[in-house]
């Protein structure tokens, strides 16, 4: 691709730009390239291989930190136990429900908000900052502000508002736990979708919009034929990134419901945490871990393909 670069660099390296032959520098350049690349590649390689192999090994082992005498290879017993665990299937369902619902809310809401905030209006810059702000709030803070100050069934602001309207206050996290978690997590991730989609919408060519308007396109055909196709790629990126983060939502549940009531908000992440670091059953938790990896891979096979084609498009431009 840039053979002049490859030849020129090592020659200069030696301090004798004109003295070097062309064969030696090429080799030296490959060496330099590997040398610079290897720290990052090796650490990521270790990171992606060693812990995963250990998880696989633990998942076929009886290993409980509380009873170290019992140990050894147990084949697929852990998988059978996990399958028959009454909280396992709900945890898969909850993980997918939480991910799907928040994705839907943040993408649909994000597109609508981005279209609205792309219009001219008074104080637009500041209003935009207000909308993206929740994304910068750490998960433990947003979960606790919602749980204690807004959703609390006795003292919370929503309870007070409902009292004022003569309604019976709702115990949000008790009666509608998953709905409440979805609300809290959407509050954090809708601003992210908004930020990305607004940036994308701003790169829409104004002339294209004007041309469509002159051709008599109304707001709806404008949205469906001009804006939405333009946002396709950005929406894909939002879906991919949010999926990565949403599949492993943990802190919000840890600080609000601790997976309850019952298994109502137990996601796979929380189940693995409670098996591993609360019951100290390393074997079972690792089995759950393997299933979390499998789940993420099933979901991401589609997503990586989508992004790969996106990036190809980028490089051609």
């Amino acid at each position: 691709m840039n053979s002049p670069t490859r030849e020129a660099l090592p020659a200069v390296d030696s301090g004798r730009p004109h003295a070097a032959s062309t064969a030696a520098p090429a080799r030296k350049s490959v060496w330099a390239q590997r040398f610079l690349l290897s720290p990052a590649v090796l650490s990521l390689l270790l990171w992606s291989v060693v812990p995963l192999l250990m998880t696989i090994y633990f998942s076929v082992t009886r290993y409980n930190l509380l009873s170290p005498d019992e140990s050894g290879f147990v084949g697929l017993d852990n998988y059978r136990f996990l399958w028959s665990d009454p909280s396992f299937l709900p945890s898969i369902f909850n993980t997918l429900l939480l991910t799907g619902a928040v994705l839907l809310i943040s993408v649909v809401g994000g597109v609508l908000l981005a279209v609205l905030f792309d219009q001219e209006f008074f104080g637009r810059g500041i209003a935009r900052l207000l909308v993206i702000a929740p994304f910068f709030v750490m998960p433990t803070v947003s979960a606790l502000i919602w749980k204690n100050m807004l959703l609390h069934p006795v003292y919370g602001l929503l309870a007070a508002a409902m009292h004022a309207l003569g309604l019976q206050p709702i115990d949000w996290l008790g009666q509608y736990p998953m709905f409440s978690i979805i609300m809290i997590v959407s509050w954090q991730w809708l601003p992210f979708a908004f930020l990305i989609l607004l940036t994308a919408i701003q790169s829409l060519d104004p002339e294209q919009k004007e041309a469509a308007q002159i051709d008599g396109a109304g707001p709806f055909s404008m949205f469906f034929y001009i804006v939405l196709p333009h946002l396709k790629r950005a929406i894909g990126v939002v879906v991919m990134i949010e999926t990565i983060f949403l599949l492993s939502i943990f802190a919000e549940i840890y600080t609000t419901t601790a997976g309850g009531p019952g298994t109502a908000t137990t996601t796979l992440s929380f189940l693995i945490y409670s098996m591993g670091l609360q019951q100290f059953d390393v074997g079972m938790a690792s089995t759950g871990g393997i299933l979390a990896v499998v789940l993420a891979n099933i979901v991401s096979v589609f997503l990586v393909r989508m992004l790969a084609s996106n990036l190809k498009g980028e490089n051609e431009q």
Partner: protein, 273 residues
């Protein structure tokens, strides 16, 4: 007619957009004002009150707030520096000496982000425990760096790709060696990009709450863990919860606001600019 129409439209857009903005921002606003109340005032849900710094004083007096904040700062800065040290050479090599496998390596790096953290929670916990990294600042720096390294490499890579190769080649012909080329040309030219890479790493590691909750308890716990301790009934001390939260959130929110454009690019691996 047309002028009146567009004025009406402007007015309605302003009203709707601002209502939504206020609705979205409200929980943060509520936290901000509650932080300046006393505990009694906090439960009166009023917006008119005599502001006080009492809750902030109590947060500092009753908890080791400064040590948590210090851990957050040490961890975020450590992650930023270490990630950049690993990412810049790698991105340089891939941007200026692309080989047949460069594209594959980049995609593979990103695919490591697909692995859910919880899938390796137990091995990492045991490895960290056995090597004395559990509940240490360096233990958290290592894990955050590994998590964020793909983002750092990608961002640095996209910024380096924008540096015109001709300039670097010209410098080489003038006798600059690789080192001089990087220090005197490449880094200054891509400084804004690298700065926003650093900023993104800072924000991500400041707010990370999965590994911090699981790998630290008292000694190395950052602010995310400190705030999580309010999930006990202590969280009903609203004014103190708000004061502690506001201090933990405010600096990063300001940085995020300042860097929003660059963040979009970093978070989307350069796919949206």
């Amino acid at each position: 007619m047309s002028v009146a129409h567009s004025r009406l439209r402007y007015g309605i857009t302003t009203a709707v957009a601002w209502s939504l903005a206020i609705l979205v921002f409200f929980p943060i606003f509520w936290m901000m004002i509650t932080a300046f109340k006393t505990e009694e005032q906090a439960y009166q849900l009023s917006v008119i009150f005599q502001p006080t710094l009492q809750s902030f004083r109590e947060v500092f007096a009753r908890s080791d707030y400064l040590s948590f904040a210090g851990n957050s700062i040490a961890i975020s800065l450590g992650v930023t520096v270490l990630s950049l040290l690993l990412a810049i050479p790698a991105a340089y090599s891939m941007a200026f000496f692309p080989g047949p496998r460069t594209q594959k390596i980049l995609l593979w790096m990103m695919s490591t982000k697909m692995m859910p953290s919880v899938g390796v929670l137990l091995p990492v916990y045991l490895l960290w425990k056995n090597s004395g990294l559990l509940d240490t600042v360096s233990g958290l720096i290592i894990i955050y760096t590994l998590i964020n390294l793909p983002i750092a490499v990608w961002m640095a890579f996209t910024y380096f790709c924008e540096v015109p190769k001709e300039i670097l080649e010209a410098a080489r012909i003038d006798g600059a060696n690789t080192w001089q080329e990087i220090i005197h040309l490449l880094l200054p030219m891509s400084l804004p990009g690298l700065a926003s890479t650093g900023l993104l790493l800072l924000i991500l590691s400041w707010n990370e709450a999965f590994w911090s909750i699981n790998l630290s308890s008292s000694h190395a716990a950052p602010l995310t863990v400190f705030i999580a301790s309010y999930s006990s009934p202590e969280g009903l001390f609203w004014a103190k919860l708000s004061a502690a939260s506001l201090l933990a959130v405010a600096p990063i929110m300001v940085l995020g606001w300042l860097a929003q454009k660059q963040l979009v690019r970093g978070l989307t691996f350069g796919a949206v600019k």
